[in-house]
Symmetry: D2
Subunit: 325 residues, 4 copies
């Protein structure tokens, strides 16, 4: 095992709050251990294009509290090809980068996995995505902030729902995962939650809306965007058709869910795994995602840290039913 | 002038943050002046249906900080007819209500104006709408909170815009008025603002996006929903067509803009005009909206307090151009 | 095991955000399982004084998002005496309450433990305290909200610290525990953390402030109120004495840390353990605190759920040192 | 009138949210009008020490939403002496700065006034202080954000006050002015407000606490730090002495009031006066503060823009009495 002298760090895929805290932790801990750090802008695309710059402790001053990513992020078609990856590797060699920390989600790790097998460069990953849909960590960086942003928004919407006795169908992020919908549905006191992990029964949903509390006319349904019925507008259409006398509205929360100052837990998680990533590289780890499971640092091979596999706790769905009584 | 013994208070039209603070001020000041207060639920509709209840100081405890309206609000088709208004008047007589405070916007005052002319009952109004589109007051109750909610959301969106170098077309409320778009556009550092008060020149807009700062790829355009081009999606379509290489996204902020804890200024405004409304009724005022102009209480006949008339300060549009340089 | 017919629920000790969400979950799930619920106001004191009232689903409408506790809380000297506890038991019998859910912290459970042993009434507890200092649960209800409130405040203070190149000594809650200080110190990017769990070396602290980054003059120290040196003012005095040329300020965050809308995670935790408490009573559990460990419901005898025992993860202290480089 | 080629901009005195938005507006509008901009760090102290740097449009990117001041601020003893001011003037000449925009409060303008009279350099000022205690503008930059921060904090404190039936004495900023206390007192629903502008009658205060609503035990008193009784602790001492049976607590909000993301109104105000300052210098204005009165840009000679003169609207004090009924 040769000693690592220069760690490259980059963010890739959708941005998530806490990515900056993770970058800061990687940079500061590398310096702490006497290793240089090279920032790579715009993910794999920037790696191919040579968007490299040296980072010092000051490069990451005053960013722990900021949303987004100072390293910017992008999707890269080129990196999907062997030629693109060869170009990326050449750039890393040219700039003396001999190890990588990739911050992102499923797509990021798929790329990192292939790259780490094709070329002799150790790569570790940090789970940075609001979707919380990765195996190998209890929570991903950004999830806690995103669910707080959602309940903040739904609390506001409920003010209007109650004032007007309205039904609101609120769509939250989650193309393949209902994890955002699940916790925010419980926390916002929703009457029902619609998620991609379970087949949606529109009749049962309408049943629940109708036979719920008679004394309460305002109701909230939280829908994950990836739901099989086709999102909040489609569900809203069904509800309006079935209950023309309800004042039913649809709200798509959209991009606000990605931004904002990271929550305390997201900053702590990002700081922990950021430092652990540098220590892991030092200790010879490679091709692994660094997460936190049961409050301990955990190491998961990239091929297992992919999404789609996260199971929904059935007790959570039961909770919603009980609490909406 | 007979002495007023029982003031009825209600909210009508779209809910706005600060309506509860206004209700509280009406109730507390009426009690202070030895007048009874009757709460009327669901606006004119509830008035017709007899949804009346006596309010005391405790009825409005711990509501100053809450969004929405504890009196609920609704639209009433029936009140648009002479028969409906007669029913409403009969209910007021039956419950001994001899004066009214109506909290709402343009539609509310139109109704109040007709009602106040048809029947012998003094009515005053409080400007409660997030749109700020009423003559007779510098600001309406709810506007300040709404624009803070918008910049909160756009600050979050900008995190993503900057991370991905994206163009975001963000639609804010304002069916007939660009006042929300105008101030939030300036405050969020938008590259351009599109409002219903001025004809939108898509070519000029694209020009500005293109010939703005070359070193900055992320851009924000704030669009009022009532814009003549047809809202954010339509503008987004134009921008995408013209600049296929841009990563252009559309975000409709929607209903979150109505809710939430009212800002300090909205609570102060609501408290001032709420007390002034009761004092105005005591002093014989009727058919007037109570507002604040230049930090002084002002009284505007309902027929002048309608919307559409608020002019856009051209200096504000100039500001956006200068600051987006 | 006799079937439970009427569960009494109360909050005791310091209030914590999420207590209302827990009350709501207890009430709704009891109703779901066909059990009556009696609310008891002002903790043990109210139990002795007979402050009982029947609760239905509507009693807990629209409270999931509110800080504080609708059941109010109080300390009770009387309940520390056998006579006081006898009075409490008599009141429970009189009102037909045959099981209890106690929401609070260490003191609450100590009382519940004695009471549950003296009298034949099943009692279970929910961990409601911002301090997170209870064994038997990964997190207590209120902790997540409190640490977010703290970083919100410290983010604001850092704006001033950086603008003026100041040193700020910020005191956070934690009379016996440094858990709030620990996570908020990491998340706010503090230069140092001072906690009761480890002996404070003022010289080492000053050393770190002095020999830290020369290019950065603003520094933040997070101090738990229970620290052995004597709180933030005392530490501030030392720092001022040692570095008279620094512009050193002290800020005591104080009571804002207890209030506010609960975070998403606190609402989810409160909802889960609230439902689990009712199910536990149904299943014959007694004298146990219901928590969540490793994302599973856990049951801990009251005598083990006391505080002081929570150990500080040494890796966290190391983190602060690394990240403040 | 010679044409201005290079405007120097600096912040001085206590930092205030919105200062960055003002700096941005000065820089962008100067560039818009073809004028160079020089940033001066650390106020007058930095001017004397030659802390100058050229600013372009990018220097002020992504700062409109940030608290504090990127130009930093400091107090300068040296600038109070003629020698210090001569050094400052020499530095300005040396760096080719031929006009100044000073952002700050009373002390800043006092310095600017003397400097502008001693040397031939046009200086205009922008009102940047959370205290709102300047003549010549309806509001100062930072005030609106600060009062929102205060009500945010007091809303949290009220959660605890109501849960425990406590009296809270809350101290807010305002050494010479009760303007923060006044509006936040109204907006937080305080039972009483104590301000430096009016002699405090402790007996009358206690009277009001005692004879207020009997059914409400939790009470909030908002105290401006400059009050003649001696701040919140002293008032708390009196209240505890008089009402030993009350559970009375004191909370000093402190430095959190200065920081944080500026509100929408503060950003709009800062943007307007920032642009107007550059235009004023272009038009030959000097020795004036640029404010907004009745929604129009206003120009006030420095000697009149000092503090202590702002009068308290007696209607506001009356409001508190009425609403606390």
């Amino acid at each position: 095992m040769t000693q690592i002298k220069n760690i490259g760090v980059f963010t890739s895929g959708g941005d998530a709050p806490g990515m900056n805290a993770a970058i800061r932790a990687v940079v500061r801990s590398a310096i702490y251990y006497g290793i240089n750090v090279t920032g790579i802008r715009r993910g794999y695309e920037g790696m191919i294009n040579g968007e490299f710059f040296a980072m010092d402790r000051k490069s990451v001053s005053n960013i722990i509290q900021r949303g987004g990513t100072i390293l910017k992020t992008a999707r890269s078609e080129q990196f999907r090809t062997p030629e693109g990856r060869k170009l990326a590797y050449d750039q890393l060699k040219k700039h003396g980068v001999d190890a990588l920390v990739a911050i992102g989600g499923d797509g990021t790790f798929t790329g990192a996995h292939i790259f780490g097998e094709e070329f002799d460069i150790p790569v570790v990953g940090l789970p940075g995505t609001i979707d919380n849909d990765l195996l190998g960590t209890d929570f991903t960086i950004g999830y806690d902030t995103a669910i707080n942003t959602v309940i903040d928004a739904v609390d506001k919407i409920r003010d209007t729902a109650e004032s007007h006795d309205r039904v609101f169908i609120v769509e939250v992020m989650g193309r393949d995962s209902g994890l955002i919908a699940l916790r925010t549905g419980i926390a916002s006191g929703a009457e029902a939650i619609v998620i991609p992990e379970s087949k949606t029964n529109i009749d049962a949903l309408c049943e629940r809306l109708e036979h719920g509390r008679k004394d309460k006319l305002s109701k909230i349904v939280i829908v994950a965007e990836g739901d099989d019925v086709g999102g909040a507008f489609e569900i809203g259409r069904h509800v309006k058709e079935r209950f023309p006398h309800y004042d039913t509205r649809v709200s798509i929360l959209g991009h606000i869910q990605r931004g904002g100052r990271p929550s305390c837990m997201d900053r702590v998680l990002a700081s922990r795994v950021g430092v652990a990533a540098v220590e892991a590289l030092k200790d010879g780890h490679r091709n692994e995602m660094i997460g936190v499971i049961h409050n301990e640092i955990s190491y998961t091979p990239f091929e297992h840290a992919c999404k789609h596999n996260v199971e929904i706790n059935p007790n959570f769905l039961k909770l919603v039913e009980i609490l909406a009584i």
